[in-house]
Structure formats: C-alpha cells, structure tokens
C-alpha cells in the first residue's frame, strides 16, 4: 500500500493517547450532528427560496460531514480493528481484501483532508461573496486544496496549517459580519469559528504531544457546541403574531 510506505510522516494518523481512544470519535460524531443540522436547514432554505447561497452553504457543511465521518471510520479501524469482523465490516473487508486497518486509516484520513479543506474553502467562498462567476479564483483555490491534500499525506501538519489559514479568514469575515449586524447569534457564530481556529492551532502540534491532540479535540467540541447555539436560538424564537 503506497500510503503505508511513504518516506515521510507518521505511519498512521493516530495521535490520541490510548485512554482517549473513542472519545475523539464521539466528539467528531457531535460535529457530524451539528453539520448535518446545518446541511438540512440550509438545504430547506434553498428549496424554499431557490437562492444558491443556501445550496453552497449546505454543500460546505456536507463536505465537512463527510470529512468527519471519514476520520471516525479511519480512527475506529485502528482503535477497534474487530469492527472489520462485524457483518458490515466483513463485507467491506472481503471487497477490499488487501486492506489492513492501517490502510483504511490512511485512505480515510486522505478523504478527511480533502473534504475538510473543500468544506472550509466553499465556506470561505460564500462569506467572501464570491460566486461561480469568479471561476478563475475558484479554480485556483480548488487547485490549492488538491495540492494541500496531496502534501498533507506526507506532512500532515500542512493540513492543519491550511485549515488554520482558511479558518482565520473565515473567522475574520464572521467577526466583520457580527460588527455589521450586532446580533447575538452572529456573535456566537464568530466565536464558534474562533474556537475552531484555535483547535486547528493545537492540532498542528499534535504530532509532538498527545496532550495537544486531546486539547485540540476538546476545543473543537466547544467550537461545535458554540456553532449549535445560534441555530437553537433561531428555532427557540416564538413567531410574532398580529395584535388582536
């Protein structure tokens, strides 16, 4: 397997200390739930309004959902190799007979890199008010996403450095959005992305210390909880009715 025999980088992308095995998957499962809620509601908005911006937003979070599912699958293949012996697992295993838990982990992590970067890139395009008319800019960004994914396989830190850079721009845009509309929910969104930005900063150094990985995961959890708050606030609001 090519990915297992790379001359650089770690053999597998598991940085978690043993006692934290599975907890990171739970955190990522929470991220998946938050992302799916945003995918569902923004797609509903698109169906109602026919405005493309909602469809793109939905696509961005769908990409992040796939990225997190890929990471959960990849890490679980290492944490719980017996999964490959379950009914679904053995079917997959027979189909891809040559795959070891490490190769599943490696492929899943490449998918995680690609979809995570794609998701943040689309999000960056939306909030930067770029449309599909800016084809050359989009093509260039897509190229950088592919390059970043490719190099991240060898130097995983580049992946987190790129997500950090993208999130820095996204957080700044959301901060500007909050300054413009001065709304509590927009503040939560800006804080959520700021926290996710910090988590990516910790992930960069996960290779040196498993504590960094644990901290990064916990900060990431906090970020997704914060992202859920404005969503809950929107749905908690009672509709205004006419005075009788």
């Amino acid at each position: 397997m090519v990915l297992e025999n790379l001359p650089y980088g770690p053999r597998s992308y598991v940085f978690s200390p043993k006692w934290f095995y599975g907890f990171d998957s739970i955190i990522e499962l929470i991220a998946v739930v938050v992302c799916i809620l945003l995918v569902y509601y923004s797609y509903k908005c698109f169906k109602l309004t026919k405005e493309k911006k909602y469809l793109y937003f939905s696509t961005a979070f769908l990409s992040l959902t796939v990225a997190f599912i890929a990471k959960i699958t990849g890490t679980l293949a290492i944490y719980k190799p017996e999964i490959t012996r379950t009914a679904i697992g053995s079917t997959i295993h027979k189909t891809f007979a040559s795959m070891t838990p490490y190769s599943i982990n490696a492929i899943a992590l490449v998918l995680h890199f690609l979809f995570m970067l794609l998701g943040f890139m689309v999000l960056f395009l939306i909030i930067s008010r770029l449309t599909w008319k800016n084809q050359r800019v989009i093509a260039l960004l897509a190229y950088f996403v592919l390059i970043a994914t490719w190099i991240s396989v060898i130097h995983y830190q580049l992946f987190y450095a790129t997500t950090f850079a993208l999130l820095l721009l996204i957080t700044y845009s959301y901060y500007q959005n909050y300054k413009e509309i001065k709304d509590e929910k927009a503040r939560f969104v800006a804080i959520a992305f700021g926290i996710l930005l910090a988590s990516q900063g910790f992930f960069i150094f996960a290779i040196y210390s498993s504590t960094m990985y644990v901290l990064a995961e916990l900060i990431q959890l906090l970020g997704f909880v914060y992202l859920l708050i404005p969503f809950i606030l929107i749905f908690k609001r009672k509709p205004k009715r006419a005075a009788k």
């Binding site: 309004t49 509309i181 927009a186 939560f188 929107i234 009715r241």
Partner: protein, 91 residues
C-alpha cells in the same frame, strides 16, 4: 447608499408584514402605500397570496379589507427564521 433590489420572497414578506403590523387587517389603499409597489405589481402579488391562501379579502361595512390568514403567518414566521439564519451565518 444604493439599496439592494428586493427579491420576490422579500416583497411577499413585506406585504404580509404590512398587514401584520396593522393588526392582521389592512385597507387596500394603505397596503399599496406601505408595500412600495405599483398598483399593477401589487395586484399581481395579491393574486399570488390569495391563491396560496395567505390572505383573504372581505367586505367590512361595505369597504374592502385584506385579512392575513394562518398560512400568511406561517410564511412570515419561516421567512423571518430564514432571514435570521442568513444574517447569523453571514449568507
């Protein structure tokens, strides 16, 4: 500053909000003034809203009045929610 042109849904929401702000009923002339539309355009939108069951026209003491229906309230509530979502997430 140049104001962004209103979309079809925004116009519908503005019409319904004008009715809502008047306690759920409004005179057609007031609605024309509040909605900031031409007579022809307002008529077009009114037909859409009547067809979708969001509003109804009734005679009150020999005068035509426009009333907002449950569907109208539901639409406005959903529209406001989408607007909040859109503003919060910078869309």
């Amino acid at each position: 500053m140049i104001e962004k042109r209103r979309g079809k849904l925004e116009i519908i929401a503005d019409i319904l909000r004008s009715i809502q702000n008047k306690g759920g009923k409004i005179k057609p002339t007031h609605l024309l003034y509040k909605s900031n539309l031409s007579h022809a355009k307002l008529k077009e939108y009114m037909e859409t809203l009547l067809g979708r069951g969001m509003i109804e026209e009734k005679d009150v003491n020999g005068r035509k009045m426009i009333f907002m229906k449950e569907q109208g309230h539901k639409f406005l509530s959903e529209f406001d929610r989408i607007k909040e979502f859109s503003d919060s997430f910078g869309l």
